[in-house]
Structures are given as structure tokens and as C-alpha cells.
Amino acid sequence: MAAVQSGVGDGVEEKDIKTEPPTDGFGNNANDGRVLSSSPGSSAPAASGKPAAGGTPEDQQTLLAVLQFLKKNKLTESVEILRREAGLPEDAQDAKGADSSGSGGAAGSVDLEGGDASALLSRVTVSSSAAAQAPTKAAEDQPDVNVVLSAYSQQGDPALYEVYYSGLKRFIETVLDCHRAELSQVFYPLFVHMYLELVYNNHENEAKAFFEKFSGDQECYYEDDLRVLSSLTKKEHMRGNETLLDFRTSKFVLRISRDSYQLLKRHLQERQNNQIWNIIQEHLYIDIFDGMPRSKSQIDAMSGSLAGEAKREANKAKVYYGLLKEPEIELPLDDEDEEAENEEGKPKKKKPKKDSMGSKSKKQDPNAPSQNRIPLPELKDSDKLDKIMYMKEATKRIRLGTDNLPSICFYSFLNAYQGLTAVDFTDDSSLIAGGFADSTVRVWSVTPKKLRKVKSAADLNLIDKESDDVLERIMDEKTASESKILYGHSGPVYGISFSPDRNYLLSSSEDGTVRLWSLQTFTCLVGYKGHNYPVWDTQFSPYGYYFVSGGHDRVARLWATDHYQPLRMFSGHLADITCTRFHPNSNYVATGSSDRTIRLWDVLNGNCVRIFTGHKGPIHALAFSPNGKFLASGATDGRVLLWDIGHGLMVGELKGHADTVYSLRFSRDGELLASGSMDNTVRLWDAMKAFDDLETDDFTAATGHVHLQDNSQELLLGTYMTKSTPVIHLHFTRRNLLLAAGAYNP
């Protein structure tokens, strides 16, 4: 599975970078700092002599490596296809062949470490090719693992590990205060890698002693990982442990100021501490920046994820977070309004007001993607009607604020002995659906309107298709009931999502499938297979048609309802994807993971455009602000973090919940954030203030260093107890009434 996650895009990129530190270490000692901080592609000497056929040189290189591999394995057809897709000329691969040998030679001539460098290079080639192939052949997993682990094979004296580590520890403890916090970041990855190296080389007792001695020094937020680590004492165990494979395959990213880094480097070189230096070279990615070293609190705010912080480059890509222009449906709206106007003479005045606050129909948001960046489904008449309904409702919306808090209705699932695992409301709050651990999905109507099925085909033939109320006539009155049960899954249903038009329902389950249900016939329409492992979450795009799913296989998939195969696969997370959310403009997808990071993916090209680190536990809730600018995330540690998508920065931390936050939702105007948790409370936060404070604040966007003020208590507007019921879903109605849902289980 490790291979799967590195199959496309991001993973390959990481592998590629692997060539880089050794070259730096041995070749460019003088200016390694600068090189490290510069972009990976340009620093690779092998890439310099290549023809720039398309894309970045780095992509090119990867492609060529893949091509070479395919050719070696006589997969000529694949070679053809790949070449055609990538737009590479016929001779590109020959050039590559020459190029690779040339680079090997060059490396050899430059630094007399030719053997080592080419060995490294070959390792890269093998691993990336294995990665490319593994999705098709699981049996190929083994060599990959071996390759990854073989990085540990160099032998050092096991007894000296403790000496090395404590030597470094002593050094870091004695450096100036301003550097200490930064350099302390090295401890955890170093500790883990040294421990694993000991285990890999069968020094079991030394490994135990090492762990015993230094595990207590590590930051408390790594506790979970340390627990996993401590249970691992045998080389054999490493093979099957995905968490550790991830630790190997991905580099632990540290951000250190140049001064601190120089300090560390000098120390290690003086001491001839090669063991540690090797680890730093091989397994750590040190993102060096110029300027003030960061403080402890700054570091703590950003660290905690499985693989360290995000590289600054990772968050540099431009994100079009603005909202799409609303389609022009003013005319029918006016028609409708004229009727309503008889009662109330002001709707026309209200409309512009709504526009200004909703910012939806603005001319064109400069940050918005172009309207057709991704193809969106055409609006049907019924959609237009619904839009009109939405706008009318919006005019009656209550404006929330610090002194105007919403009313909260709690939907309790009673007698849910089978276990309620997921809940969703339709946007208009007319239906509620629950996913249950007994594999069922149940849909309730929360309005007096009962749920009806469409008549059978035979009966449908009998009705008059020309009549005005044909939509009414096709419904079978006999089937009217308050709730319907959908059977089909063979495992607990973990994720559930209504389509915006209320015609479909998606459910994702432990059985590895995502199912699409019709809410007209209450039958299953499609089972989307692809995950093969439990699918933890799924969500429809706000425009319908597309949906995203993510699960245990660490790959988020983008689907269209009419394709049985995914359109995009977003891989890069190092652990299960626990929750998935669409950006309001449908161009981006956010995924939260057990690796304690949040990634934002571009739907258009499948790239990862943002990596947010800072959570200290698996992320279980995500919510975009209605204006698309911000993201809120909640995790098992009970904290809610706020992110600025455009700048790729953490902008707030909301502390207060005592247990996992399972649900987050912004009010319709984005003024409030509601969070629901296992601790049986709903909390309301002042989102406006949280974001306003920051916008007035001078963004430290250039450095990427956030300095968060601890103002959770000021932002907390209210804590609301439920009746001993965990809150697993929240929803703001179109008029800003807050609906919460959960199952009461005595």
C-alpha cells in the first residue's frame, strides 16, 4: 500500500528529491544551505543536461525513468501510451539513457563518490519504477519495501548510538536559547530513525535500551507514534508496518533558520558524527529560511504531523479560492418575487443586500477560478427553481453575530442500538439521512412531506405525461412513509452525502464501496468500487455530479456519478484519509488524514496545492467558510484549527472541546463557526473576529511563520450541552437555524 500512495504525482516527487542531499553533502559542502532551500528540481545536477520537452525538468526526469523501466520490462504498449500522453518525442528516452549514464559519469568525476552516487541513483530509479507499477501488481510490494529499508543497512556500532544521540542532546541543550527550540525539532526524527536502524540491524536489546533512555524526551504530541514504535522490536515487524514505511519513504520535514542550521552542521562536522549526519542527509528534509529563528510556541503550533511540517514550497501554488459567479437566473426570480411582493414590498431591496454579504453574485472575484476551469453540470429547471427558493430563504436569513446567536435544534436518533456512524442533511434541511453500523442507510423526512417512491414502470405507462402535475402523478402514494431504509452495503456506513438537488444520496462504507442511491426510487443505482479498503468519507460537490471519497488506502478519489472509475486519484497522505470536503467553488478538494495533515488538492490537475500541519491527532472534521477563503479543521485532540487557504497559513486555534471534534460548520454568512464533539457539546465561535484579527495583522506570509495569540476564550461565544448525546453532525439551515444531530445511546 505504501507503493500505492506514492503512485502518482507527489510521491514520485519525493523520491526524486532523495538524490539531492547526498549530492549536497558530498559535493557542495560550502553552499549546501542555499541549495537545500532552493527548489529541488533545479538543484539536481542530473537534470541540468536534459532537453526541456515539457513540464518541469523534474517531471521530465521522472517520466523518463518510468519509460526506461517500462521498456526494460518489455511493456512496449505502455511505453507508447505514456509517451503519447506526455508528449515526449520518440528519441527522448534515448536521450534519457545517455543522460543517465552521463550524469552517473559526471557525478563520478566530480566527487570521487561515483559508485555511491550511481547506487543512489539506481535506487531511486528502482523505487520510483516500483512505485509506478505497484498499483497494478501488489506482489511487487516486497522489493519496494526492501529498497526502502535497505537504507538502514549501513552498519554503525550499535553501542555508540546512545553516545551519538546524547552527544547531540548535550550540544543542543547548550546552544543559545534562540536556537534551542529550532534544533530540538531534530530530536524526534533522529530518535525514530536511529531506533529503527537499530531494530533493522537486529540490535534488539540496544534498540530497547535506546528507546527506554530517550523516548521520554520527545514531544508529547508524538506519543501515539511512539507507542507504535515501542511495540516494534523486530526487523520482520518493520516489513508489514505501513506507518513506518511511510516514515521511511517520506522525508521528515523540518524548518530551521539558517543560523541554527549552520550551528548544527558545524557541530556534527567537528565531532565527525557521521551516523547522525547520514540520517539527517538521508531521511530529513531541512527547509532552511533566512531570518529570526522561530520560538518554541511557533514550532509547536505547526508540528505534530506524521512527517513533520509542510515544506514552504508545498504551499506556494496559487489557489483560486474565490467563488464562482452565480448563474444569471434573475428573471425567474423576479417573476417569483412579484408574487411575493404583494405581501412584502421590499424583496428587491433585500436582494442587493444579500448579494453584498453573500458575495456570491459579484461581478468576478479576482481570486475565483475561471467559470469553466472544471466543467460543471448545466443547471436544470429544477435546479433553477431551487436556487430561487434558496434566494428567497436567504432574504429571511437571520444575521448572526456575537449578540445574535442562532437557535439550535437537536435531532436525536433514538433506539439507534445498531450504532449511528454518519449523518447528513440536505441543503434545504428537508431530509436527514443516517448511516449505521449495521450497513443500512436510513432516510427520514423532517418535514410533514412524506417520502414516496416513483411508481413501477407498468404504472408509469398509465399516467398522462402531458399533465401539469406529472411529477406529482409519478409518485406512488401507497409508499408514503416518514422514513426509508436503504439496504446494500455489507459493512458499517461511515460517510454519507446528499446531492445538492436532493435526487441522490451517496454512502461510503467499510466494505470498500461508495454507493449512489436514488431518492426517487430508493434503490441503489451504482456501486463505485476502487478503494478496496474501508471508505471513511465521501461528499458530493456543491454543484453535484462530482464527488470525492477517501479511505483507508490513503488515496482520495474524485468521481463523477456517470463514471464507474475515478477521474482523479489524490495520493500523498501517509495514513488513512478520514474526511473529505469540496471547496465551495468545486475546484478544490480538502482531505484530512490520520497522518495529522490536511491537504488541498486541485481537482483540475490532481496536484496537492496545500499541506496544513499542526494538528496533533487524526483529523475528523473539515469545513470551508462560505466565501471559500478559509478552512476549519477539527481533530481527535479536541482542537479546531483555522487556515487561510490563499496564504497557506494557520490563522487560528480554537481550544475548548474535551474530545474529538466530529463536526464543523460555518453559518451561512460565515460569521460563526459551530463545532460539535464527542464531549456532548456544541460550541459556537466568532469566526468573523478570528479572521478579521488576522487580516488586520501583518501577514507573515513570506516567512510562513505564524504567531497565534491564544484567544480561544474570547472567540468562544457559547457552549451548549446536549442531552448526553455526542454531536456528529451540524448543519445551518438557509435561514441560519443550527441543526445538530447525534444518537442517544444509554
Binding site: V228, F410, G434, V446, P492
Partner: protein
């Protein structure tokens, strides 16, 4: 590291691995076992780790067996079966081997598969909405409150409920029977249980209507017997309703024509039945019942019918209950009862009749107490390993053979003992802990001093009686059978004439208006005088009045008969006699008597008959001697 790890994780030791291998028929070397153990530990931790993910996504805090099995399944390991039970699995240890294991009982799969008692009555999953907070204000519900209408009923169930209650409380007896039968066997009414329990708790409002009370009790019986119902904590509510019928001075009992006694008897049997079948659902139930019975018994303000209820309740709960509660209370209670029985005023007639009821109930209770106690004592002597368990087994046999409540719960008593001994340990009642059982001989002596020969149970007859107290178990086992055995027959047959004479008295005192009582005085006093001279004769005479009756039927029939006839007959005659004799030395007699009860050994040398003549003193303290004649005559008047 090693010990630290042990603290952190569940370890599977090398020995465990070897043991498991052995049980599978594989012989493992030490090093192999060690390696395996380590790997097993690691795999276990790994599975636990990934199972927690399933828990988190199910939005639970509790890791279930199901979660763990899912984790195993996804890592291509066979799932573990047999641990999915909702209730906790008891973890037992074997002392010798320092072995710990989960109790694993055999399950009869055929029975399970064919059983229809799959709980179906679960209320449907539903969504209910309530406005929790208006405009973010008003913490309407305190934390920890529970949503209302956690269970609500489907229409069908509601209809069923209405029909059933209507049928049971309605006029048509046939309909009632059908309804009760259905209630007893319907497997889908779990959701209705609270409602039925609520209906039953309505006993308090219909205490004037014996018929309704009876029907409600039948409803209790049906619910209790329904094998598909899990009564849970509703047992408490049911018990309190039944106790109400047993103990309360029901409005219906104001009219002497109402046979509330039968109702109380029935309720008592029902109580013991509930307790036997569902007593384990509520901890300390036995204690609570006993305490409330004791409270009633020791409350002199309560009417006699309440006391009667307490006595039959204790009786129904088993001889152990009688021993624990009734027996220690007897001396104190006796005084009150005697006062009632000795009051022959017209106004007291009704009360007196009630008193005789109580007397009879007590007599029956203590007789069985003696019998069962002797039985339990003799059991070890006969070679059984454990008297208690032996008797429990016997009791179970009885229980199975007794459908419903018809036979008196004699066998149940011992079963109750078994459970009682559990409850005593966990119970909160401190006074109970101090209680020490009175040895059988002493008990017998004491009871004999109250009832004299009214006691049907005897451990020794004839002149050898005086040497009874220090008797050995082997003797006991001999004497145990005596009451019904042929050995006693000559004795009883010999006394038959006197018995009839006594019986003549009984109907009148019983309160039944039709019989014309022959003057008892002559016969009674006459025989009494002779008895006064020879105490052994006296004893056998009056006791034979009871044993004689009893010999006409089985011991099981004793209760009803004794209640209506014998107790009153024996005692009045008896007391008259002694009273007449007694008066002169009353003051002497009373003191030693009162001190006698607790420490029996010093008195064990004195034959119990020595108390017999002092007995009436209790009831007659301070009363003039001529009183009895007056009251004797007065008896005629109301009847």
C-alpha cells in the same frame, strides 16, 4: 524496557504460547515459543491499533469486539468468534495453576437455532427533534439529562396494549385468560413492558376491588413467566406492587366477607416466584423484601392482616427467611398476638378472627422452618457433600415440576436460601450480618414453648423427650421423618378422641357463623386438668389435634386447613387450661421465660414443656384471672 513494556501492553508469555501449542498437540522449544510470543504480542498490538480506527469512525468511545474483528479481517487474519456478547464475560482464575480463563459455557446450538425468542420488540430507530436553545440562550436541559421518549411505540403495539389491558381488567373471564396466556408467551412486547408495569403499579388505586387486584397479580404472573421479557430493573417495581397486595391493609379487607387472605397468599407465592426467577436482576432485592416484611411485622400499629401478609410472605420466601426474620421476632410479636387472641370482647371478634389467621400462618411457617432445618442439618450426615447445594438441587427439581404457583413454595425456600446467601454478602443491612443461626434444638424448644403441641413437627416423642436437646445429628436424622413417619402414628391415633373434641371448637372461633358451637369448656378444662398433672400427656394431646388433622392429608395441604381450623382450636383450649393454673405463679414464670430465649443452652436441660404452661402469661399479663370466663361467654354472642 521489558518491564516497562509489560506495563504498557498486554503480554503473551512464553508459557502461554507453549500451553496453547500443547493443547493443539504441538511441542515447542523454548526459543521458538519465545519468538512466537513476541510476535503474537506485536500482532496483537498492531490489530488493536488499527481496530481503534474503526471505533473512531463509528464515533464511539468504546472499542468493541466487532472493531477488533474488522481490523483482523482487513489484515487477513481470521476473526475471533464467540466474544460478541453484550454482557461482560466473567474472567475466572484457577488457583492451582495460576490460570486465568474466560468462562465458556456450552451452548446448545440446536436449541438456540430453533429458539424463537429473538428479541424483536425493539422500538424502531427514529429521529426526534427538539429545540435545545433559542437564540443561543437558555440551557434548557441540565447536562446528563436523557432525551424523552427514548422508546416510543408503534401503532400495532399500542393497539395490542390497549386490547390486553382491556381484556385483563374487563368483565369477560375467558377473554382475560386468553390475554394472560398471550402475555405469558408473546415475544414481541418488550417495548410495552414499562407500560404494563405501570398498569400493575395501579394496584394502589384499586385496593378496594379484590377482583381487580387479583387480575393485576395475574398480569404480574404472566409477565414474570414470559420467557422473552427481560424484566431488568422493572423487577423492583413489580415486587413493590406485589408487596403492596401482601402487606397493605387493603380497603377491601374492611369487609370481613372479602377473602383478601387468599389474595395475600397468592401474592406471597407470586413474590417468591418473582424472587426465585428474577431475583438476580436486582441486587439486594432479597434483603429489601425481608427488611420491609420485618418492618411490617415489628410494627404493632399495623393491622393483623398486614402481619398475616408479612408472615405468609416470609413463609413463601422460604424457611431461611422465616428463620431470619419471623423467628427472632416471635417472642415480641407473640405478646401482641396473644393479647388479641385473649380478648373475647364483642368488639374484638373480628380482630380476633384475624389474629387466628396470623397464628395459623405463623404456625405453618415455623413448622416448615423446623422441618427444613432438620433436613438441612441431616443432609451432611447422610453423606452429601454440601447440604446447601444438595438442597438447592432438590429444590430445582421441585421447581421444574411445579407449573405456576399452585404448590406451596416449600422447595423454593431452599433455592431462596442459595440466593440469599449471595445477597447477604452484598447486602447493606448491617443487622443481618450479626445474625447467628439458632441451633435446631434450641429453636425447637422455643417454638414448642409458644405453640406447645400445636407444632406438628416433633423430634422426639414419649418419655425420652426430656433428653432431647443434646441430641446428635444422627438422632435428628432419625427423628426427621417422624412427623409423617409411621413411628408417630401410634401416638396420633391414640389421641384421636381429644382431637375431635378440639375440632368442635374450631369452626366457631374461625368466625364462620353457621356452626353451633358446643360448649368447649368442659372437655377442655377436663382434659386440661389431667394434662396439668401429666405434662407429657398434655403435650401429646394438643399437638395431636394438629398432627391428627394433618395425617388426613399430605403435609402440603396443611396450610389452608390449618389456617381455617386448627390453630385456634388448640390454643384457646390450651391457654384456658394453663391460664387457670398459671395465675398463681405467674410472676415466677414470666421472668425466667423472658430471659430464656436468647441463650438456650442453660435451658436445654429443662424440657420444653416447662415453658408450655408459662406461655399464656405473655398474653395475659396484668389480666385478672376471672377474665377468661367472661370472655369465654362473650364469644357466643356475636355468633
Amino acid at each position: 524496557m521489558a518491564d516497562r513494556e509489560e506495563r504498557r501492553f498486554a503480554e503473551v508469555s512464553r508459557d502461554s504460547v507453549k500451553l496453547m501449542a500443547e493443547s493443539a498437540g504441538v511441542d515447542l522449544g523454548d526459543d521458538v515459543a519465545a519468538l512466537l510470543a513476541e510476535d503474537v504480542c506485536y500482532r496483537l498490538r498492531e490489530a488493536t491499533q488499527s481496530s481503534s480506527q474503526f471505533m473512531r469512525h463509528a464515533k464511539r468511545r468504546k472499542l468493541t469486539v466487532e472493531d477488533f474483528n474488522r481490523a483482523l479481517r482487513w489484515s487477513n487474519v481470521e476473526a475471533i468468534c464467540g466474544y460478541g456478547a453484550q454482557d461482560g464475560l466473567p474472567f475466572r482464575s484457577v488457583k492451582e495453576g495460576e490460570l486465568f480463563f474466560v468462562e465458556d459455557r456450552d451452548v446448545n446450538l440446536v436449541e438456540l437455532a430453533l429458539a424463537t425468542n429473538i428479541p424483536k420488540g425493539c422500538a424502531e430507530t427514529m429521529v426526534r427533534v427538539n429545540v435545545s436553545y433559542l437564540d443561543g440562550k437558555g440551557n434548557l436541559e441540565p447536562q446528563g439529562a436523557v432525551p424523552t421518549a427514548v422508546q416510543s411505540l408503534s401503532d400495532d403495539l399500542l393497539k395490542y396494549y390497549q386490547q390486553i389491558t382491556r381484556a385483563i381488567l374487563g368483565e369477560d373471564p375467558h377473554l382475560m385468560k386468553v390475554a394472560l396466556l398471550d402475555l405469558q408467551s408473546n415475544s414481541k412486547i418488550a417495548a410495552l413492558l414499562p407500560y404494563f408495569v405501570y398498569v400493575i403499579s395501579g394496584v394502589k388505586s384499586v385496593s378496594h376491588d379484590l377482583e381487580q387486584l387479583n387480575r393485576l397479580l395475574h398480569m404480574v404472573k404472566s409477565l414474570v413467566q414470559n420467557p422473552y421479557l427481560y424484566l431488568g430493573s422493572y423487577v423492583r417495581s413489580l415486587v413493590s406492587s406485589v408487596m403492596y397486595c401482601i402487606l397493605e391493609p387493603l380497603a377491601a379487607s374492611i369487609n370481613p366477607l372479602n377473602d383478601h387472605w387468599t389474595l395475600r397468599d397468592y401474592a406471597a407465592l407470586l413474590l417468591s416466584h418473582i424472587f426465585w426467577t428474577h431475583g438476580d436482576l436486582v441486587s439486594g432485592l432479597y434483603h429489601q423484601i425481608l427488611l420491609s416484611l420485618q418492618k411490617v411485622l415489628s410494627d404493632p400499629v399495623r393491622p393483623l392482616c398486614s402481619h398475616y401478609g408479612a408472615v405468609v410472605g416470609l413463609h413463601a420466601l422460604g424457611w431461611k427467611a422465616v428463620e431470619r426474620v419471623l423467628f427472632p421476632h416471635l417472642p415480641a410479636y407473640w405478646a401482641n398476638l396473644q393479647a388479641v387472641l385473649d380478648d373475647y370482647s364483642v368488639s374484638n371478634a373480628q380482630v380476633k378472627a384475624d389474629g387466628h389467621k396470623v397464628y395459623g400462618a405463623i404456625l405453618v411457617a415455623v413448622e416448615r422452618l423446623l422441618k427444613m432445618k432438620a433436613l438441612s442439618l441431616s443432609q451432611p450426615a447422610e453423606g452429601a457433600t454440601n447440604a446447601q447445594s444438595g438442597s438447592v438441587m432438590g429444590a430445582m427439581g421441585y421447581r421444574v415440576s411445579s407449573p405456576g404457583l399452585s404448590p406451596p413454595p416449600e422447595p423454593l425456600s431452599e433455592a431462596a436460601l442459595g440466593i440469599a446467601s449471595h445477597l447477604q454478602a452484598g447486602g447493606a443491612g448491617c443487622p443481618w450480618e450479626e445474625w447467628t443461626p439458632v441451633p435446631l434444638p434450641a429453636m425447637y424448644c422455643e417454638l414448642y414453648s409458644f405453640f406447645g403441641d400445636s407444632l406438628a413437627v416433633r423430634f422426639s416423642t414419649g418419655p425420652g423427650f426430656g433428653s432431647y436437646p443434646p441430641c446428635t445429628p444422627s438422632q435428628l436424622s432419625d427423628t426427621r421423618k417422624e412427623p409423617s413417619g409411621p413411628a408417630s402414628n401410634p401416638d396420633t391415633t391414640r389421641k384421636m378422641p381429644q382431637l375431635t373434641a378440639n375440632l368442635n371448637i374450631s369452626p366457631r372461633q374461625d368466625g364462620s357463623p353457621r356452626t353451633d358451637p358446643p360448649p368447649p369448656s368442659l372437655a377442655a378444662t377436663g382434659s386440661g386438668r389431667t394434662l396439668a398433672r401429666s405434662s407429657s400427656v398434655q403435650r401429646s394431646r394438643s399437638s395431636s389435634s394438629r398432627s391428627g388433622q394433618r395425617s388426613t392429608g399430605l403435609s402440603r395441604d396443611v396450610f389452608p386447613k390449618a389456617r381455617f381450623t386448627s390453630p385456634q382450636t388448640g390454643l384457646p383450649a390450651f391457654s384456658f387450661l394453663i391460664g387457670g393454673r398459671q395465675m398463681g405463679r405467674r410472676c415466677q414464670g414470666r421472668r425466667p421465660f423472658q430471659t430464656t430465649f436468647a441463650p438456650t443452652p442453660p435451658f436445654s436441660t429443662i424440657p420444653p414443656r416447662a415453658y408450655a404452661h408459662k406461655l399464656p402469661v405473655i398474653g395475659r399479663v396484668g389480666k385478672p384471672v376471672r377474665r377468661w370466663t367472661c370472655s369465654h361467654y362473650s364469644l357466643h354472642l356475636p355468633l
